[in-house]
Each structure stands twice: as C-alpha cells, then as structure tokens.
C-alpha cells in the first residue's frame, strides 16, 4: 500500500518541479500544433470566399463565421454536376453503400473465421493465421493494381459491387475476432458444448456469437472507417463512372473543379468551389465517421489493448 503511494508521488508528482512544467508545456505545445489547423479548417467551412480572399475575419477566421455562409457553400456543392448537379449527395450515398456492405461482409467472414482459428483444430490453421497476419500488416494499396486487372477482366469497372466485395476482405477484423475468442472463450467451453451434443457450427452460433458483442462492434467500426476513407481502390475502379464515385474520390473531383487550382475547368461551371466550399464538403464527408466513432466509443475504450495492434 505505502509502496504504491510512494511510487505515485515520484512518478506523477504534485509539486510543480522544472521537469513537470517542461513536460506539461511540451505536451500542450504539441496539442496546439495539432488543434490550431483543425479549428481553422472547420472555421473555413463557415466563412465566405470574399472574406477569405480579403484576409479579414481575424485569428483563424473565427470572426467571420455564419450559418448563411455554410448554406451558400452547400448550394454550390450540391449544384456541382451535370444538369442540376446533385452529384455530392450521390457520392455520399455510394460511400454509405460500399462501406456498409463491405462492413457487413467483413463481419460475416471475420467472426466465424476468427473463431475457427482460435478454438478449432484443423489442418492449415497455422497457414491461415500466418496469411491473415501478413495480409493485415501489408499496406492495402499494394494490391490495387492487381485488383483493377481482375475486375477489368470480368468487365465490372465502374460498378459499385466489386468495390464492396473487395472491402469485405478485412484481415484485421479476422485477427481481432481471433484475439477475442482466444482471450474470452476457454476451449473447455467448446468441449462442454460438444458433450451436450451441439454440432461445431451450432457451438459457434449458440455459444460463441452471443458473447461477441465487443468483437462485432470493433470489427464493424474499424472496417467502416477503413472503407469510408479508402481512396486508391475507388480511384482505380470507379473513376470512369462519375455517378458511381465514392465521396473520397468525389472530393478529389471537387478540388479539380476549383478555380483555385484549375481555372480552365472552373470557368465552365455554374458553381464556384473555393476553399470554404471545399472545407465544408470535407467536413460533411467526415460526419458519418464522427457518428460511428461516437457510437463505438465505449467499445473502443474497453478494447483498446486489442485494437492497439493495428495502425
């Protein structure tokens, strides 16, 4: 008891020593370095291009925020596209479609696979485990060109379903499920269920799955985030079809149509996409991530050590 108290007073001292002041100062300085750009960027979404160009609005532009600016910017974003526009909401819908289908596929594949690798004996178990770890630590863009060649060979470029199916392959989810069953389900439980006369598949559904809420939440969260922010895969598979783009590559198209970077293209458009409009589009595209993050937060905190293995 006294040891713990003593250790704490030395590690996290209450006195404002030089070391403590330096530590807190460094941490706050880095935090500011991270927060200032983000605050300024979100503020940008609620400013007007006139004031941005004039350089008014004060520190980080916080003096020029108004809801009307955002409403105007939104009209420009929605107006983008052939005819009456409307591409941006469509891209959001596409992103939702592929991210959710991909996430559901990842769940359907990862949980039983993780269970089998953790608790069942079969030939090739080690090989599957190794392949999964390897696929997990490899950067996923390495496979994009091969995937493009495959999808091209079956003539499905520009369609959403191959993107969703490919997103369903989520080895990190399998690893998470594997760790989950490894740590929470003793092999004796499987043994007992067998003696009770349950089949192997039934044991998974009736014993394994009901105790896996945590794993379901983590796999769903991580796969949704990975799918939503995926850029290279939709770029290679969906660029050819403007209607079927996801929002990540859609924003790229908005950048390409901005008078800031491409005056020629922008001159031919009815809408004007300056920095406030681009910032607002980006901000809106992040909202679904924010929602799933808040929804998954309590699971994330509990599963921190498990989730911590993947970058």
């Amino acid at each position: 008891m006294s040891t713990a108290v003593e250790a704490r007073t030395i590690v996290g001292s209450k006195r404002w020593t030089v070391g403590r002041i330096a530590r807190v100062a460094v941490m706050l300085a880095v935090a500011l370095l991270f927060l200032v750009p983000i605050v300024g960027f979100i503020a940008m979404a609620f400013r007007s291009q006139e004031n941005v160009a004039a350089g008014s609005d004060g520190f980080l532009g916080l003096g020029g925020l108004s809801w009307d600016n955002a409403v105007y910017s939104w009209s420009q974003i929605v107006g983008f596209g052939p005819g009456d526009g409307g591409l941006f909401p469509r891209w959001i819908a596409n992103s939702l479609t592929v991210s959710i289908i991909g996430g559901v596929l990842a769940l359907v594949a990862a949980l039983p696979a993780g269970y089998a690798m953790a608790l069942l004996r079969f030939r090739g178990r080690k090989v599957w485990l190794f392949a999964t770890l390897l696929a997990m630590v490899m950067p996923n863009t390495v496979l994009v060109i091969p995937l493009f060649l495959e999808v091209n060979a079956i003539g499905a470029i520009g369609q959403l379903w191959p993107v969703a199916v490919i997103m369903g392959f989520f080895p990190f989810g399998v690893y998470l499920s594997y760790i989950h069953f490894m740590t929470t389900m003793p092999p004796e439980l499987v043994e007992a269920a067998r003696i009770d006369g349950l089949g192997e598949i039934a044991i998974f559904f009736q014993v394994g799955l009901p105790i896996s809420k945590q794993a379901v939440a983590l796999v769903a969260f991580f796969s949704f985030v990975a799918n939503w922010t995926n850029f290279f895969l939709p770029l290679a598979l969906l660029t050819s079809s403007q209607d079927n783009k996801t929002v990540s590559i859609g924003i790229q198209e908005l950048i390409g149509a901005s008078p800031l970077f491409n005056a020629t293209v922008a001159a031919g458009l009815d809408v004007k996409l300056y920095m406030p409009q681009l910032a607002l589009a980006t901000f809106i595209s992040m909202l679904p991530l924010l929602i799933v993050f808040i929804g998954a937060q309590r699971f994330l905190i509990r599963g921190q050590t498990v989730g911590a293995v993947k970058g």
Partner: protein, 322 residues
C-alpha cells in the same frame, strides 16, 4: 490456452492412427472449421490470392502495341520495361528521401509523446492522447484538404512561414524539391497520434510493480522513462518502424493529389505506386503495371514477414493468450 491442448494438437494430427474414438470427432471438428472459414476463404481468394496470381500472369505477357496488338507470353520483358523505365529508380530515390527525414522524426515523435503521455496519469494525459489522435481519425482525403488549406499562402494560418521562405503562392510552395518536407509534415500530422495510442497501449500493458520497484530504487521520472520504459517497449518501436517503412512504399494519395493542385510543378510519377498507376491508366500497359505491383508486393511482403516473425508481437499462441 493450456499447454495440454497444444500438445494434443501437435500429436493428434489427422491421418495418424489415433484411437478410433478420437478420430471421428476430430474429423467433424475440422469439417466444422472449414465451413466456418469458408466466407473468409472466399474473400481471401477474390481479394488477394486470385488478383496476385492474375497480376503475376499478366506481368509475364507481352505488352500489346499499335503495330502488334496481339498479346502473348513475353517472359520477363515487362519487368525489364519497368525496371529500365527512366522514372523507376527516381521513384524509389524519392521515397527514400522522404523516409530519411520522416521515419526518424516519426519514431522520435511517437516514442517521446507516448512516454510523455504515460508519465501524465489522469485526465490531462488522457485528454492529450485524444487530441493527438484527432488528425489520424481524419483519414486520407480529409487530411489532404486540410493541408491544401495550410499550404496555400493566400489564406493559410501559417502563411508567415511560407512568406518567410519567399514563397508567395501555392505553386511555389508545392514543388518537387519541397515534397520531402511537405510529405513529412503531412504524414507526421496524420500518423503520429494512432501510434501514440498503440505504444501507449504497450506501456499500459507493463505491470505497475516494475515501475514501483524502480521508483523504490530511487529512479526519477526521467530515468524511469529512459532506463525502464524505453527498453520494455522496444518491440513496439520496431513494429512501428517497420509498419511505417512498409507504408512509405505505398504512398499514393498525397503525392498524387499534390501534383493535382500544384498545376504541374510536382512530378507526375513521383512515387512507385504512381508509376504503376501511370503504366495502367496513362500508357494502358497492363503487363508493366502488373510487374510494378509485383515488385512492390515483394518488397512489402518481405517487410511483412519480418514484422510477423521478428517483432515479437505476433508470437506463438501460447504467448498470445496471456
């Protein structure tokens, strides 16, 4: 998992003349395992094994030309085309130039900040860890648009920095020679937070008794961090270094989009992935694109194998079930 189960697994391999009573349920178990594995196995085939095999097959084909549109077996021609491309060596030099700046900074940042967070128990440390994590949560394209805002001297909050270097517009800031610096900043901003959380998780996994013992021996906070914590989290540091190294080889989004906003002042095929992309979508030379992706695949696979076997984080089942 107990050692007993492991031993049984080792000795009770299928096909061995085990006792008849044992064998039947074992076969049932294996069949069950394969059924449960089936959806994942199918996705593994479709999204990894088949594309890799197919890309290898394509890379051995001849590139169709206007004169001779027929394809056919071309041996290693496309690999030679790729490797001797005038941009090939440059793209790797570019990547290494960035990594020479970014990796050391990243590792020092990750370890330093994770140790600082760990030395700050309670609300403050938790809040700081969350703040560091926010940019990482933004994800690829959002992080990029944020950086467009930061890089443009016309409205950036750090415009004084650009003006100080006599860079007056975006085109002057975003140039090939400035790319290592810009990418280092972008990748650090985006990546460091996630890794702080990971290494911090590793630090939290160390039993408190070790720190208490060190404190009893008279170690101050600095000695505790340098002499006790740092050696203990070495596997995590190695893991972070290798994962980031592998990540470096697949850089695409940032240089690709920087090119787009730079109005041509950044090279169009700056990174190896961009060169592969150009082979596929500009030249329509699929064999060369496939060859490029096989080369990158071999490099990252090699790094992956080292991570899985050498980092000490993905050890045997026995260690993992602790």
């Amino acid at each position: 998992m107990s050692t007993a189960t492991l031993d049984r697994r080792a000795t009770d391999a299928p096909g061995k003349p085990a006792r008849a009573r044992r064998r039947a349920p074992h076969r049932v178990e294996a069949r069950g395992a394969w059924i449960l594995l089936a959806p994942y196995a199918a996705l593994f085939l479709v999204a990894a094994a088949i594309p890799i095999g197919y890309a290898f097959y394509i890379s051995l084909q001849k590139a169709p030309t206007l004169v001779n549109p027929a394809s056919g077996f071309g041996g290693f021609d496309s690999f030679i085309t790729t490797v001797t491309d005038y941009r090939f060596v440059d793209t790797f030099v570019n990547i290494f130039t960035v990594m020479a700046v970014w990796l050391p900074l990243m590792i020092v940042g990750i370890v330093g900040l994770a140790l600082l967070v760990h030395a700050s128990p309670g609300r403050f440390g938790g809040a700081m860890r969350f703040v560091y994590y926010i940019p990482g949560a933004l994800g690829g394209i959002a992080n990029f648009v944020l950086w467009v805002y930061l890089l443009n001297p016309a409205q950036s909050p750090i415009a004084f920095l650009w003006r100080g270097m006599e860079l007056d517009n975006l085109k002057e800031v975003v140039t090939t020679s400035n790319l290592p610096g810009i990418l280092t900043a972008m990748l650090f901003f985006q990546g460091v937070g996630t890794w702080i959380v990971i290494v911090n998780g590793g630090l939290n996994g160390i039993p408190d008794e070790i720190f208490e013992a060190a404190a009893l021996d008279g170690a101050n906070a600095w000695q505790l961090a340098w002499r006790v914590k740092l050696p203990l989290i070495r596997p995590w540091i190695g893991y972070a270094a290798l994962m980031n190294l592998a990540y470096g080889f697949q850089l695409f989004l940032e240089p690709y989009l920087l090119r787009q906003i730079s109005a041509g002042s950044v090279d169009s095929e700056w990174a190896p992935t961009q060169l592969g992309y150009a082979f596929a979508f500009t030249n329509r030379n699929f064999p060369a694109a496939a060859a490029m992706s096989i080369i990158l695949l071999v490099i990252t696979l090699a790094i992956g194998v080292i991570i899985v076997f050498r980092s000490g984080l993905f050890g045997d089942d026995r260690e993992r079930s602790k």
